[in-house]
Amino acid sequence: MSLTVHDLCKKYGDKTVVDHLSFSMSGPGVYALLGTNGAGKTTAIRMMLGMLAKDEGEVLWNGAPLNLDICNVGYLAEERGLYPKYTLMDQLKYFAALRGVTGAEAERRINYWAQRLEVTEYLYPMKTTRQGRKVPAPSSKADQLSKGNQQKIQLMLALISDPELIILDEPLSGLDPVNTDLFKGIIREEIAKGKYLIMSSHQMATVEEFCTDITILDRSKTVLQGNLNDIKKGYGRVNLKLKTDVDVTEMVSASGAQIITEKENEYQVKVRSEEQAMSLLRALTDANITVVTFDLQEPSLHEIFVEKVGRGEEDA
């Protein structure tokens, strides 16, 4: 299976919101669409899913135009919601039915996800009768749930059909650390099952944790694209973590490297190249300074993103 997005364009009047976006996934994994707010990520996803007309371009699944009637797609939209006054069970069964999962299979999957996402108490609540017996009660309504639990139900809606292509738009936003880990665990499981995932996120650490390939969009244009490891290698190892037993601030500055942070002889240093870092190391050892830590690393995705987009993640 493969997913190819080719030359996707969208304009609203004179304003271009997606400018010739192309990328592809030749195998299972996670592809990240990154960008600041308004960069065009959600519009691109909507065009991929056929919710918005494309001005140009095509989206191919296994070489043929992506057809939602054929390709089983799970989508967690950036704008999330549930019917506030309908029971959760009704909503889950409805979405399952719309995706062709009905009857006992739908019940089984709802039960599985309820346990996996720890929301059984809302989907299968019990009430006590006057005689003191515990009997099943109707499932809760969405407006009785916390935001985090609503997000779990929304993830269930996206995954209930066991989709082969999963699109997650900001999947971890608004979650507490415990639920973030729960969601991450589920994402890992889906990757392990050989699913194709497209993830849009502002949380660079999360993207870095899961994604193999990325596209960074800035104001509708693709500013960086490719395999994350290759991109990082292209930048070289320019982040130096240095710890010594004495103050070496002057030596570091004299080498031409830039100190980012310094605390009790522990430095975060930005070097121009590995050669510059090695030259600094030689200078330190020549001066008989004990080097406790010398860790030369590639730049983080966060740094690459900030550099490419040219401004901070003000909306993240």
Binding site: G50, A53, D69, V73, Y75, L76, E79, Y86, L98
Partner: protein
């Protein structure tokens, strides 16, 4: 617009309908429809009977005739009523009626010296079961018989009496109206007016209820922010078609409750011997409602419902919040109101050129054409033409809607204006 775009309509319909019938508000609405119409029937019937606790047809007319003319009351009166020339005075006759004769009407014929005419007055007893309007109609019948007897006393033959008593009516027409009247050979009729008005009210009620339901349902769905998730599983057209069908079933259930309330109260009143409210016009509609008549009404209502619902669907999809839905339903309601006004305003007109033109104007024809066909004002070919035009308009609307529903559903922000919707239609939406 392809068949695939409607895939999933049934599932959306079932879910929407299921949720309607899980809501207590729906049962409150249906109860209001049922009890409201039953109550209206009760009040109208009691009003018609003017306070008489029981009501049914009169059985005996007690005629206190002070005229010198020889009226053959037994022969002149229709078979369903017995005419008795009373020997009692008016006071005694009224006492006799008050004593318990619930189905008797006293008709007093006396000369009014001041006015210079014969006064014919009908009286009923305190506990009379006879409606006042029926008693008055018997007074009219007696007055007509007295009139004949007066001419007969002058030695005039039956044919000449008939000629003399035939009424002279007046009218005031422009030349165009005169030509129009010549073509149709019919003038104003209360039956036609009531039939036309009643049908227009029925259509307006159905459309206004369903428009409000559809706009609100779609705006609610949008505000729930579930639309994008839904659109992965079902096409926008199916999403809205399912909701339109569910609203239709709900509105028709409401209409059925109203009819059950109406007929149920009629039945209950019948058990207690109380005459139910009815009119000549409604009778005309009901008389025209054989199987063909029912089909005519159903086809017309479905075509009208579909057209108005698509408009309502676009209006609902243009909203981002439920609070915008009232304003959004404005356009559809204005068109519905124009149709209603056209139906009401022309209800009294005969089958002239105006009616024929209105019968082929989409959105308006649904208020006029079926009732006109049922009372015989227009022929089947014109009705068929009105259906065809409405069907073409509905199809064109559905096609246009299929191009914009998707974009409207994912739209956020201010309510989309008509100009923007038209611009979306040009651009198309779905890939």
């Amino acid at each position: 617009m392809r068949k695939a775009e409607f895939a999933g309509t049934g599932k959306v319909f079932r879910f929407s309908l299921q949720q309607y019938f899980k809501s207590a508000a729906t049962y409150v609405m249906l109860a209001v429809m049922l009890l409201g119409t039953a109550g209206s029937m009760l009040l109208m019937s009691l009003g018609m009977n003017r306070g008489n606790s029981i009501g049914s047809s009169a059985e005996t007319l007690y005629i206190i005739d002070e005229s010198p003319y020889e009226v053959d009351w037994e022969k002149g009166l229709p078979e369903e009523i017995k005419g008795v020339v009373s020997d009692l005075s008016l006071e005694d006759q009224l006492l006799a009626l008050d004593a318990g004769d619930t189905k008797g009407v006293a008709v007093h014929i006396a000369w009014d010296g001041e006015g210079g005419f014969w006064q014919v007055t009908a009286y009923t007893g305190k506990s009379s079961a006879v409606a006042q309007f029926e008693a008055e109609s018997w007074a009219d019948t007696c007055a007509a018989l007295l009139e004949e007897a007066r001419y007969s006393a002058l030695g005039i033959g039956e044919e000449q009496i008939a000629l003399a008593l035939s009424p002279a009516v007046y009218d005031n027409l422009t030349e165009a109206e005169y030509r129009d009247t010549e073509e149709t050979e019919e003038t104003w009729s209360p039956a036609r007016q009531i039939a036309g008005s009643a049908y227009a009210i029925l259509v307006f009620m159905l459309i206004s209820f369903s428009t409000s339901f559809i706009v609100r349902a779609i705006a609610q769905e949008k505000s729930s922010k579930l639309v994008e998730l839904l659109m992965v599983s079902v096409r926008p057209l199916a999403l809205i078609a399912g909701k339109i069908l569910a609203a239709m079933v709900l509105v028709l259930t409401g209409a059925a409750c109203a009819i059950i309330g109406l007929l149920g109260m009629r039945f209950v009143l019948g058990l207690f011997g109380v005459a139910s409210f009815s009119t000549e016009g409604l009778g005309a509609i009901l008389q025209g409602l054989d199987l063909v008549g029912v089909l005519v009404v159903i086809v017309s209502l479905v075509l009208g419902y579909v057209s108005y619902s698509i408009l309502a669907g676009i209006s609902g999809a243009s909203c981002s919040t439920v609070t915008e839905s009232d304003a959004a339903s404005g356009t559809t309601m204005v068109i519905a109101m124009i149709g209603y006004m056209a139906g009401m305003g022309t209800a009294a007109l005969n089958a002239g050129g105006v009616i024929r033109v209105l019968c082929v104007i989409p959105f308006l024809s649904v208020y006029i054409a079926p009732a006109r066909y049922l009372v015989g004002d227009i022929g089947f070919p014109l009705l068929l033409l009105s259906w065809a035009i409405q069907a073409i308009v509905a199809f064109a609307l559905a096609k246009a809607a299929s191009a914009v529903y998707g974009a409207l559903l994912v739209h956020r922000g201010e309510r989309v204006k008509l100009r923007q919707i038209l611009s979306m239609m040009k651009g198309g939406v779905r890939a």
